[in-house]
């Protein structure tokens, strides 16, 4: 029973960054810009958020107001992710550059920049930024008395509880509403499907595409922080390929919010199984096989590829994604 609580709470913990980042990718691609730079945006967001947390830790604000400090860090992650995403927007929208190569450049840039910055700020060779303990939400946060010994509900809720989780849930709901219930969402999607049609009814395609890229930068940045707190061992200038995994989640989720939610839980579950496989008795026993976690790690990617084979014929991918919009060609 306890193991179930652990699996569920860990799955949610790791699904949060995937969900946020995949939703970010969804906004960018629905506006018509392919965003393979999600990994880079995560790194940049996490980097600055971790710096912020560390500063709050040092000046005492953090321990005094832990969740307020965390909330500010989340805003910093989103904000810096957004600023970083402007580089993709500028290349893809203004300069009509190859979006994939531009994104590759950002992915190359972000981890290097993070190492250089960490090195410069923390001193030579110190490349890990540790996350303060106080960011985790505990029973005390709500003024509850500690429980003695293992408890299913306590483990489920409080074992891995960070502010990023409720924030992600709120952001997911908001993102869903924005995408399908607002004028902005309708226009954004029109730009990714048929920019000429959007233009002919007076929608500024360039502006909408910038909006899509910026939102992806925000969600990517927050996702980067969510990943870092989930891992727990501090920020090491990388996010373990979660940006690319989120891309797979987005494709697997067919560019739609609810399937993306399901896909991120599914992918996170495999990550958790990979991490815990030795303690999970219900898994098939691969006698004599070492490091079987690698197998569970690669399963989500393999499943994505198989799904792609069957769905590529009627893929829901935005039709105009990756094609720079030129006002001249109608």
């Amino acid at each position: 029973m306890m193991i179930a609580a652990n699996i569920i709470s860990m799955t949610i913990l790791f699904a949060v960054p995937l969900l946020l980042v995949a939703m970010g990718g969804m906004f960018s691609e629905h506006s018509g810009v392919i965003n393979i730079a999600l990994e880079g945006m995560m790194i940049i967001g996490a980097l600055f958020a971790c710096f912020t947390l560390q500063a709050f830790d040092k000046n005492g604000f953090g321990p005094a107001h832990p969740q307020l400090a965390m909330f500010i860090a989340i805003l910093v992650a989103g904000g810096t992710g957004m600023i970083f995403s402007l580089l993709l927007g500028f290349a893809a929208i203004n300069l009509k550059a190859d979006q994939t190569i531009g994104g590759t450049a950002l992915n190359q840039f972000a981890p290097a920049f993070a190492v250089v910055m960490t090195w410069a700020i923390q001193g030579q060779g110190l490349t890990t930024i540790f996350i303060p303990n106080w960011v985790r939400i505990t029973r005390e946060t709500f003024g509850l008395a500690p429980v003695d010994g293992p408890s299913f509900w306590n483990n489920l809720v409080f074992k891995y509880f960070y502010l990023t989780t409720p924030v992600a849930i709120v952001l997911f709901i908001v993102a869903y509403i924005v995408m399908y219930k607002t004028r902005f969402g309708l226009r954004l999607r029109a730009c990714g499907e048929h920019p000429q049609a959007a233009d002919s009814v007076g929608i500024n395609v360039y502006k909408m595409r910038y909006a899509g890229v910026l939102i992806s930068g925000f969600l990517g940045g927050v996702g980067g922080l969510a990943y870092t707190v989930a891992v727990g061992s501090g920020f090491n200038s990388d996010v373990g390929g979660y940006g690319f995994l989120a891309l797979a989640v987005m494709i697997f989720g067919n560019w739609k919010p609810l399937p993306i939610l399901a896909a991120s839980l599914f992918f996170a579950l495999f990550k958790v199984i990979a991490a815990l496989n030795s303690t999970l008795t219900f898994l098939p026993k691969f006698e004599g096989v070492k490091e079987i976690s690698n197998f569970y790690q690669m399963l989500p990617y393999i499943v994505t590829m198989i799904v792609l084979i069957f769905t590529s014929k009627n893929s829901q991918a935005p039709k105009a994604e990756g094609i720079p919009y030129d006002k001249g060609s109608r």
């Binding site: 690698n294 690669m298 792609l308």
Partner: protein
Amino acid sequence: MSKQNKQPLLQRPAVVGVLASLLFIVIGLVLGFVLLVLLNPGESVNGMRAMLTTGFSSMDKLGKVLYQSAPLMMCGLSVGFAFKTGLFNIGASGQYTMGAFFSLLCAIQFQLPWFVCLLAGAVGGAIWGIFPGLFKAYFNVNEVITAIMFNWIGMYLVNLLLANMPMMLASGWGASNSDRTAALSAANPGAILPKGPLAGLFGNSSWINISIIITILFAILVWVILQKTTFGYELKACGLSRDAAQYAGINSKRNIVLSMVISGALSGIGGGIYYLAGTGQYVLEKSILSMGFNGIPVALLASSNPIGTIFSALFISYIQVGGAAMQPAFSSETIDIVIAVIIYLAAFALLMRGVIAKLVSGRKEKGGAAK
């Protein structure tokens, strides 16, 4: 086809390409320097000097430049070859990893000589290259997506396999660590690339071997395939204009797959050549090897020209060696920032080349095309 080449030197596409690349490099280095100044003004000049001069500071360092440039060159050739067919092979990393695995498998497990191991590396890379090709040609799945997925699948697969082959690991050959493959000097010295004629030149440098010669030969081979054969003619036609290729009766699906297979093989050889040098051991890590990704700027800087790739790989390797010497004042990743700037600029290279072409040709424009 130079028989009647009367085009002014500065208007030739190749010349414009080289100028554009030099411009990218200069902008990248300037931004790198600005970063150094911002981070640590006192050390910035020293840092820059280290970046730009270390490569030539000793025969040993030069040997290291050559040693690192060989796999880079192979990955650059790989990415560039795919570009020529209109494909973006972001999967060079996975193909490189598979190539390394196949080579090491032959070297350690099967105790085969180095040239067989290298060939096996090509096979490994080719196997990993065929997936993006097949998915693109027959399911119309963007090759970038497939390649990214297969980078991760390849890494985890290799980790899984190596972990379960005790003989492959260093611990199987008397060393204590089981997180990496066996050192070739212990497991199979016959699989280490020979020093060949370079031994005399570089003497005691542990870096040097014939890998740089092999890769230059491959660069020439790729150039010959692209420039001199009907196959290259078809591949380039597909890359430049898929519609015209179809009109000419060229089977573009077959060409996409073949192009990715060859591209994968080139990356695979890169992986083999790096680990068969005997200096590095494959470490079972949880992140993707960056070598394949670095093939992208190598190819972009060379405008995908195989001969140009030789120089761009040497350049990237050169500043990487310089970057290592910038420590401890600066992190060596500064170099990656410079490289990232170069890739970013290359993303709108066409635009930049257009600007350069206009700048150098200026008023001659009208005289160009005859009626």
